[in-house]
Symmetry: C2
Subunit: 256 residues, 2 copies
Amino acid sequence: MQLIGIKTPIINSGDNVVEVLSKAFAEQSITLENGDVVVLAESAVATAEGRIVNLSDISPTQKALKLAHRYSLDPREMELVLQECDEVFGGVPGAALTITKGNLSPNAGIDGSNAPAGHVVLLPEDADKSASVIRKGLRELFGCDIGVIVGDSRTQPLRLGCVGVALGTSGIIPVEDARGESDLFGNILHITHKAVADNIMSACQLVMGEGGESVPCVIVRNAPVMLVDEDVPMPLFSREECMYYSNIRRNGTSKS
Amino acid sequence: MQLIGIKTPIINSGDNVVEVLSKAFAEQSITLENGDVVVLAESAVATAEGRIVNLSDISPTQKALKLAHRYSLDPREMELVLQECDEVFGGVPGAALTITKGNLSPNAGIDGSNAPAGHVVLLPEDADKSASVIRKGLRELFGCDIGVIVGDSRTQPLRLGCVGVALGTSGIIPVEDARGESDLFGNILHITHKAVADNIMSACQLVMGEGGESVPCVIVRNAPVMLVDEDVPMPLFSREECMYYSNIRRNGTSKS
């Protein structure tokens, strides 16, 4: 398994990600091969999709004003958080803790870094669809079977530092079911799934960095993933299934 | 960056991990190079360190009996969970949710898979120390500067599937502080740390697998990590610093 970071120019609203990538591959003398997984930072994808908001266009509601005060946030950003998230379940100074598109996401994944002054970038509206469109475009151009992952970086509870999290995938099995396999002593594994897409995204964080490195894409070669010629959406893990969720205090404000 | 999985025979209690690895490297015609990071599954390290317990040797206390009933666990395993963890903060059928050695760990990281029948494997007593001992042994043998990570797989809240988590490190900076760096637009990043060791561990999960693959070690070559000739322990993220922790209901049973 090998990771190759791809540098690109700054991606702007309206850019065609497939064109940007194909130029960048050519400049680094790289061509895609069968089985490659192309991994993209969601901020680059979302920016290209026009998911940039000028904060001066936003008028916060009373609810946003109240929560912005509680969590020390810009009321206009808090308004966007409320519009984007499934629910706010708590917060700390500087971050409203939300569930957004089914995932734990501080501030609904809205990010002021890597955005022009006074602007923020929302998450892609449908990251699985973004991955699907990019996969089809790259496949047409390079004529090979690849997978695509669109993801982000997140902190984990009680851990210092950001790891990767896949938001959308196309052409790979994002979570593999290992139930029924045997362990070293022949015992059957009962509850184990492999978060393949999340693990690939975390590996790519090492190459992407968090700041101004301009490496929004990583090609993962010879990764032990299962490629499929279809769109398998990231599975959502329901709150009822999650052993942690039942232990998260519901002291927040649900969206509706 | 390149990942090379290392197959070994089943590791038994009392085995010398450095010897097992050096034999396995030789069989795969691999030698360590300056800058390599050697990543190990904690179950292999803990087993070699003799952290295997025969459940028939354990007599559960009243408290363990009560919690075992509540969470549908073997009372002897629940007793070990109580002995190993910092606190139990909740649970679901089949798993007591604990903080153990500072980390979120279902059942205190105690695992019946990859263990002989009737036995369980505890986490290494001090995974940073385990990493340090292995690094010194490998460095003496191969005469090069390497890093070592000892880690495990864990589920994340609201995510399906296991990702990697580093428990102990030696010879690398496990979490890099990116504060003060600039983003694409020259804005200063304020609160970003990179969970380098966790990300490497997640990458290695792809190669290790969860079950009977007998790949307890992965060599990570050309990883963008900062090597240091010292033991930098995994930083603990205090409950006060963690934005999620304050939102986890304290409905459980603290250990003391």
